[in-house]
């Protein structure tokens, strides 16, 4: 990859956005192209910024992460969508699998190595919706 992976972070929590920014900055080959605070804003941001990877929080008011994923995939299947959650992911796994996201990850486990691995697994596999890492 010559161009850095463009990452869009979506979460209504400012704490996560701050640390995600630092995480992406510390991960070689990745750069943050923008942040959104809600599902609605995410749809507009994806269209405007054309990211390669979207970090999408599950629990948000109004439109949650799962529903946002469905809308995003319908409009543009290109970006890889990683659902993140601070709650127990097991409870969400079924819904996440069905909506078309590439993976569901606990926020606490996010680290540069994890981010790189997830990207390589799914970018290499091509289209979003791969079953392998779910």
């Amino acid at each position: 990859m010559d161009d850095p992976v463009a990452v869009l972070t979506v979460d209504d929590s400012p704490s996560f956005l701050r640390v995600a920014r630092q995480l992406i900055a510390a991960t070689p080959g990745f750069c943050s192209v923008g942040e959104a605070h809600s599902g609605e804003d995410a749809l507009a941001a994806v269209e405007l910024l054309r990211p390669d990877l979207v970090l999408l929080d599950v629990r948000m008011p109004a439109m949650d992460g799962v529903e946002t994923t469905r809308h995003l995939i319908k409009r543009d299947p290109h970006p890889i969508i990683l659902l993140v959650s601070s709650d127990d992911p097991e409870a969400l796994r079924d819904r996440a699998r069905r909506c078309g996201a590439a993976a569901l990850v606990r926020k606490q486990e996010l680290a540069p190595s994890v981010l790189r691995r997830l990207w390589e697994d799914h970018a290499g596999a091509g289209a979003a919706g791969s079953e392998r890492s779910m």
Partner: protein, 615 residues
């Protein structure tokens, strides 16, 4: 359950003078009645004498005329005395007395005869008026007013002004005993314009149309009436229809010169007024005799102390009103409720309903909601209410209790819902606040560990932030805990906790707490604290330009009392009702047996006061 925190019942719901205290006719009325009765007898006798003086009098006509004077007066007086259909009774009396003028038309003297004929023009509109105002004596609908006015105008415009212009009055006059050989018009001016030949038939036709409309109005009333009202209206409609038919026959006979037709119609019209009076009397007596049978039967059925639905059915059967309902007076609800404690709005005169309050001395017991027709039979209502009083009073106690229980359940429901909302709020705040910070902290730790070797500079920067991140998380948790149950309240009691709230309030707030270090139970202190805090927030949000808020907490009697006063814009307590904040406060205090009072005056300010008794 102390209910003084509910607004008092509006005045119109409080019972008026109970039935048992209805005043008997005044002594002066008695004198008027006697005088009127005497006058009626005199006039009837005079009309008889007048008729027989003319020599070739027809006895039948004379007697019926006298009865047409006497009977309406007699029946009208009876109705007036009985205080049943009073207004209509007075109307009947007036009709009877006025009819005397019509009987003058038996005279052979030109002037007297003419006076009688002139008066006779008014019989038609008067009869229509009587039909349309039965049984209340008032014209209730716009349609009836139009018809009555139209009939009156027909006479006022097309009959009376034409009298100087007509040589002879129309022949075949029912209420006199001359047919074609009647005296001439004593007030004839001498010239009879040609238009008169057309005017009389036209007038009769127009008048007939108004009578037809009157019958239509009655039929319409009948269709819209309840079963009970129909029983009283049907006879009236029948008599009115007979009048209509007889008048039609008279007019036709008059124009075609057919004596047989006019003769038959005349007898019917002659007998109509006495018969109508008899009909009204029979109707009134029917109710009285019915009461004589129905009340003992009612008392028998009440002996078994029927339950509320059975009581309703028994009273409904007795009064012949299937729509009858009973509402019980419940101070707990501040108004009338059903037997189950559900509030009922009791408004008389709405949709043909009448309301009869039942009371013992000044203590309201219940209200009987019934068909308005029964308002004309107060003695029957009185008897039923008196017979059922004991049972009604017992049910009233149950209804009051049920109303209290209902309110208690509703209050409990609200408290539980509020507790649920509170839990959700705490969970949400924890998740969105402290939890997010801790998750971010965890991520940062993992990040630092991972890049420590490859990017030590950045790692050091991140590491330096960790301390501040922990502090912020701690602050977040501390704030949340304070919102749930303030640590200051637990340790220092109300003075300290309220002082803290006051210091961070948007409006300058003074706290005066005279509990002198005395502590109360956790529930009581918590309730006072949160009520004061809520009231303070309200003052800031809705108080407008409040300059100062004062919180006073003091022991009162054997309880704890608080007042939160502001000098803001005030608000309309009645109209705003209980906003959720006020209901919450009321519920909190009510759960501890306390009360809340809200007093607000526009432009002056608001005072929210509460009192909790100690257990």
């Amino acid at each position: 359950m102390d209910t003084s925190h509910l607004t008092a019942a509006p005045a119109h719901l409080l019972p008026a003078k109970p039935l048992a205290q209805r005043a008997p006719p005044r002594a002066s009325h008695g004198a008027w009645m006697a005088a009127t009765g005497f006058l009626g007898v005199v006039l009837a006798a005079v009309s008889l004498a007048l008729a027989f003086r003319t020599g070739d009098a027809q006895p039948g006509v004379a007697v019926l005329n006298a009865l047409s004077v006497g009977m309406p007066v007699a029946v009208g007086l009876y109705a007036w005395w009985r205080q049943s259909n009073e207004r209509f009774g007075l109307l009947l009396v007036a009709v009877g007395l006025a009819y005397f003028l019509v009987t003058l038309a038996v005279s052979r003297d030109e002037v007297i005869y003419s006076l009688g004929r002139i008066a006779a023009f008014a019989v038609g509109p008067l009869v229509i008026y009587v039909f349309l105002t039965f049984p209340t004596g008032r014209l209730e609908s716009r349609a009836s007013r139009v018809v009555a006015a139209g009939a009156a105008l027909t006479v006022a415009v097309l009959a009376w002004p034409t009298i100087p212009l007509t040589r002879e009055f129309p022949p075949y006059f029912p209420w006199g005993d001359c047919t074609t050989d009647c005296p001439a018009n004593a007030f004839f001016s001498g010239s009879e314009p040609g238009i008169m030949t057309v005017l009389a038939p036209a007038r009769e036709a127009i008048f007939f149309v108004f009578l037809l409309l009157g019958v239509a109005v009655l039929a319409g009333r009948l269709r819209a009436a309840s079963a009970l009202q129909r029983r009283t209206l049907v006879p009236v409609l029948v008599v009115a229809a007979v009048w209509l038919a007889a008048l039609a026959v008279l007019f036709v006979g008059r124009r075609t010169g057919n004596a047989a037709l006019t003769g038959a119609a005349s007898w019917v019209l002659l007998a109509a007024i006495p018969l109508t009076a008899v009909g009204v009397l029979v109707g009134m007596l029917q109710w009285r005799s019915y009461a004589g049978v129905a009340i003992p039967r009612l008392i028998g059925r009440l002996a078994a102390h029927p339950a509320p639905p059975d009581l309703r059915r028994v009273m409904s059967d007795t009064l012949n009103d299937p729509s009858l309902r009973i509402a019980y007076w419940a101070p707990a609800a501040g108004g009338y409720v059903s037997a189950d404690g559900v509030p009922i709005e009791v408004v008389p005169d709405r949709e043909g309903r009448g309301v009869t309050p039942v009371a013992v001395d000044d203590r309201p017991v219940a209200a009987i909601i019934h068909d308005r027709v029964l308002n004309d039979h107060p003695e029957l209502l009185e008897a039923v209410a008196a017979a059922a009083l004991l049972v009604l009073d017992r049910h009233r106690l149950d209804a009051d209790l049920n109303a209290s229980i209902r309110q208690l359940r509703e209050s409990q429901g609200r408290i539980l819902a509020a507790a649920d909302r509170e839990r959700e709020r705490i969970e949400r705040n924890l998740h969105d606040g402290a939890q997010q910070r801790l998750v971010a902290l965890r991520m940062k730790l993992a990040l630092v560990r991972e890049i420590a070797g490859t990017d030590p500079g950045r790692a050091a920067v991140l590491q330096g932030e960790l301390g501040r991140d922990v502090d912020e998380a701690l602050d977040e948790i501390r704030d949340l805990a304070r919102g749930v149950y303030p640590p200051l309240l637990a340790s220092g009691g109300l003075p300290d906790a309220l002082a803290a709230v006051a210091s961070s309030a948007p409006v300058p707030t003074t706290v005066r707490c005279s509990t002198r270090g005395r502590r109360f139970s956790r529930e009581i202190e918590s309730a006072v604290y949160f009520c004061c805090r809520e009231a303070l927030q309200n003052a800031g949000k809705h108080g407008g330009v409040a300059r100062r808020v004062t919180i006073v907490v003091r022991p009162q009697g054997d309880g704890l009392a608080f007042d939160v006063t502001d000098d803001g814009d005030g608000f309309d307590v009645e109209r705003t009702g209980a906003g959720t904040g006020l209901t919450n406060m009321s519920d909190r205090l009510g759960a501890l047996g306390g009360t809340l009072t809200v007093d607000s005056r526009a432009g002056v300010g608001t005072a929210i006061s509460g009192r909790i008794p100690l257990r």
